[in-house]
C-alpha cells in the first residue's frame, strides 16, 4: 500500500470530487456520530462504566453480537450457494428467484418481523410443525437469528453474484485440465478470488444485523437477560427519558461495530493483495 495522495486516474476532477466526497460524508455521517460521542461526554467514566457494565446491558451486547455473527455466517454460506446458482445456471423462474432475493431490502422490517412471528409462533405454519419436536423459534433467541438471516441475505448474494458472473471460466478449465479435482479448483482457484466479495458481503450482513430493530422486537420475547437486543435497550432507555444512558450504549455499539468493520476491511485488503 502506498500511503500518499496520488492521482488515481488521468481523468480530471479529482480534487473537486474528493472535496465533495469528504464534505458529504462529514455532513451525513461524521457530524451526527460526533454528536453522539459528544453527548456521551456528559457522563463521567464511572457513570459510563455503570451503564455499560450493567449485567442486563452486557447480556444484550452478548446477544446482539452473537446472533448477528451467527446470522452473518449462515448468510455467508447460503448466500454463496444462492449467488452461485443464480449466476451459473439457467432454470425456469430464475428471474423471479433473483428478484425475491432483493425483497428483504425493500420490505419494511416490521412487516418481516410480524410475518416471521406469525409463521414461527406455535400456532403458525412452521411453528406448529416444530412445536411437537420441542423446537421454539418465535419468542426465543433462535427467532432473533432467523430474522437477522432474513434481512441479511441479499447483502451477501448481491456482493458476490457480480464477481461470480465476471469470473472467467478459463481459469476453472485450466485448473481442471491441469488435473485438479473439483474441490481443488473450488478451494484454490474460485474461493480465493471470491474472498474479498464474500468478506464484504459478510461485513455488510453483520453490520446490518447489529443495527436491526424493527423485525426483532416482534419475533423476540424481549426478556431482560435473555432476548433483549442492544437497540431495544437503547429504545427502552429513551422511553425512560434516560438520553445519556442511551447514547452511552449507542457509543459502545458504534465503536465496537467500527472496529469490527475496520478489521474485516483490513483482512479484505490483505486477501485481495494476496490473490493478485
Amino acid at each position: 500500500m502506498k500511503w500518499q495522495l496520488r492521482k488515481p486516474s488521468v481523468l480530471p476532477g479529482f480534487g473537486l470530487t474528493l472535496g465533495f466526497s469528504l464534505t458529504y460524508v462529514t455532513l451525513l455521517v461524521l457530524i451526527p456520530l460526533g454528536g453522539l460521542l459528544l453527548y456521551t461526554t456528559k457522563l463521567s467514566w464511572n457513570e459510563f462504566g455503570a451503564v455499560i457494565l450493567d449485567p442486563r446491558v452486557l447480556a444484550s451486547f452478548k446477544l446482539s453480537f452473537g446472533a448477528s455473527l451467527i446470522a452473518a455466517v449462515i448468510n455467508l454460506f447460503f448466500g454463496l450457494i444462492v449467488a452461485w446458482t443464480l449466476s451459473r445456471y439457467n432454470f425456469f423462474g430464475k428471474k423471479i428467484v433473483d428478484a425475491l432475493v432483493d425483497l428483504p431490502f425493500a420490505l419494511p422490517t416490521a412487516v418481516a418481523g410480524i410475518a416471521l412471528a406469525a409463521i414461527f409462533a406455535s400456532n403458525g405454519w412452521i411453528g406448529a410443525l416444530l412445536e411437537p419436536l420441542g423446537i421454539q423459534i418465535a419468542y426465543s433467541r433462535a427467532g432473533v437469528v432467523v430474522a437477522l438471516v432474513f434481512i441479511g441475505l441479499p447483502f451477501v448474494v448481491r456482493t458476490v453474484q457480480p464477481v461470480i458472473e465476471e469470473f472467467e471460466k478459463e481459469f476453472e478449465e485450466a485448473s481442471t485440465s491441469l488435473g485438479a479435482s473439483w474441490w481443488q479448483t473450488f478451494s484454490r482457484v474460485i474461493l480465493p478470488s471470491l474472498m474479498p466479495a464474500l468478506l464484504t458481503g459478510f461485513a455488510l450482513s453483520f453490520a446490518r444485523a447489529l443495527g436491526e430493530y424493527g423485525s426483532i422486537i416482534f419475533i423476540s420475547s424481549n426478556m431482560p437477560f435473555v432476548s433483549e437486543i442492544v437497540p431495544l435497550i437503547i429504545v427502552t432507555k429513551l422511553s425512560q427519558f434516560d438520553y445519556v444512558g442511551a447514547t452511552a450504549v449507542g457509543t459502545v455499539m458504534l465503536l465496537a461495530t467500527f472496529v469490527i468493520l475496520f478489521l474485516i476491511n483490513a483482512i479484505q485488503i490483505y486477501s485481495r493483495e494476496k490473490s493478485l
Binding site: 450493567d54 449485567p55 442486563r56 412471528a117 406469525a118 409462533a121 406455535s122 400456532n123 403458525g124 418465535a138 419468542y139 422486537i217 416482534f218 420475547s221 424481549n222 426478556m223 431482560p224 437477560f225 435473555v226 431495544l232 429504545v235 427502552t236 429513551l238 422511553s239 425512560q240 427519558f241 434516560d242 444512558g245
Partner: protein, 338 residues
C-alpha cells in the same frame, strides 16, 4: 391610470366582502398525542368535538391523532413533536414533558377536574374461552402452569398499571413489601414475552395464541372481545384492581406558539361534558360524571379499586421505586434470570 387603480381598489373590496364570511370560518388543526388503546375512542370524540366547536364558534377543527406507547409518545413531544394536547396513559408521562422540556406547566394536574383525568379505567384479565386454566383472581397468576402476557413496564404505561395492580393486591392481602415482591416475581416468572406496548401484548395473546391470560386495560379487553368474538375469549374481573387514571393536558409551549390555546383547552374540557363522557363510556372508559356513570353502570362490573395515590404515594414515587433503573422491576428480573 388613476381610474384603473381605483377600479382595482374597488374590485379588491368587492372580493374581500365576498370572501370575508369564509375567512372568518377558520380551519384549525389540532394534534392529539395519545397512547395505544385510545385510537377508537378519540376517533369518535374528535368528530363530536368538531361538530360542537362548529356550532359554538363556526370554525372547522380537524384533530389529528397520534398513537403509540405512552412513554415513547411523551418522548416525541419532549423532542419537539408539536402536540397541542397530550392524552397519555399515566400522569408520570405528562410530568416528564413538564419537567424535561418545560413544555407544560408543572401545575397541569390542577387545571382540569379529577386531577385532569376525565375518564378512568382499570386492569382486568382476558382469558381464552371457557377459562381452561380456571383463572379467577390475582392468586391464580402465580401458579406455575399459567402463562401470563403483560408488556414491558419500562416502555408501556399500561404495563406499569398491571405491575402496580398486582403489587397493590399482594400488599393488601399478604401485608408486607417483601411478600408483594415475591408475589410479583412469581407472576413475571410466568411471562414468556415482554412486548413494548399494550397493543403488541394484545396481538401476541390474540393473534399468536401465546399465554393463558392477558393483563389488559379494561377497554382494550372489551374491544378485543367485541372485535374477535365472544366465542374465543372472556373477561375475568379480579376482586381488587387499580384505578387507572389516564391524564390529559394541553401542551403550553406549543399552543402558545400556534395560537390554539383556547380551542385546545375547550377540546379537553369537552371530555367532561355529558357527550364526551358518553362517548368515553361507549368506548369502555369509565366515565367520571356521576350521572353518566349511573347510566352506563351495567357495562362496567363492580370491583374494589385502589388509587395509586393511596397505595404508592403518587406516580413520582411509584416510578422511582418500581420502574427506574435498578428499581423493583429490574431487581425482579435480575432474580429471575432464567
Amino acid at each position: 391610470m388613476k381610474s384603473l387603480k381605483s377600479n382595482l381598489f374597488g374590485i379588491a373590496i368587492a372580493v374581500l366582502a365576498l370572501v370575508a364570511p369564509f375567512i372568518h370560518a377558520a380551519d384549525i388543526s389540532l394534534l392529539n398525542v395519545s397512547y395505544d388503546p385510545t385510537r377508537e375512542f378519540y376517533k369518535e370524540y374528535n368528530q363530536a368535538f368538531a361538530k360542537h366547536w362548529k356550532e359554538l364558534k363556526g370554525d372547522n377543527v380537524t384533530v389529528r391523532q397520534s398513537h403509540g406507547g405512552s412513554g415513547s409518545q411523551a418522548r416525541s413531544v419532549i423532542d419537539g413533536l408539536d402536540a397541542d394536547v397530550v392524552t397519555l396513559a399515566l400522569a408520570y408521562d405528562v410530568d416528564a414533558i413538564a419537567q424535561k422540556a418545560h413544555a407544560i406547566d408543572t401545575n397541569w394536574q390542577k387545571r382540569f377536574t379529577h386531577n385532569s383525568a376525565p375518564y378512568t379505567s382499570t386492569i382486568v384479565f382476558l382469558v381464552r374461552k371457557g377459562n381452561p386454566k380456571g383463572i379467577k383472581d390475582w392468586d391464580d397468576l402465580v401458579k406455575s402452569d399459567v402463562k401470563v402476557i403483560t408488556p414491558n413496564p419500562k416502555t408501556s404505561g399500561g404495563a406499569r398499571w398491571n405491575h402496580l395492580a398486582a403489587w397493590g393486591y399482594a400488599l393488601e392481602k399478604y401485608g408486607s413489601e417483601d411478600k408483594a415482591r415475591e408475589f410479583v416475581t412469581k407472576i413475571y416468572a410466568n411471562v414468556p414475552v415482554l412486548d413494548s406496548g399494550a397493543r403488541g401484548a394484545t396481538n401476541t395473546f390474540v393473534q399468536r395464541g401465546l399465554g393463558d391470560v392477558l393483563l389488559a386495560w379494561e377497554n382494550e379487553a372489551i374491544l378485543s372481545i367485541n372485535e374477535l368474538g365472544r366465542d374465543k375469549f372472556e373477561i375475568i374481573v379480579p376482586s381488587v384492581s387499580i384505578l387507572a387514571e389516564p391524564s390529559v393536558s394541553i401542551v403550553d409551549k406549543n399552543v402558545e406558539k400556534k395560537g390554539t390555546k383556547e380551542v385546545a383547552t375547550a377540546y379537553l374540557q369537552y371530555l367532561y361534558s355529558k357527550e364526551g363522557q358518553r362517548i368515553a363510556a361507549k368506548n369502555y372508559y369509565r366515565p367520571t360524571d356521576p350521572e353518566i356513570a349511573k347510566e352506563t353502570a351495567a357495562n362496567f362490573p363492580k370491583l374494589k379499586l385502589f388509587t395509586i395515590d393511596a397505595v404508592f404515594n403518587g406516580w413520582g414515587e411509584a416510578q422511582k421505586k418500581h420502574f427506574a433503573d435498578g428499581g423493583e422491576f429490574d431487581k425482579i428480573f435480575a432474580s429471575i434470570k432464567r
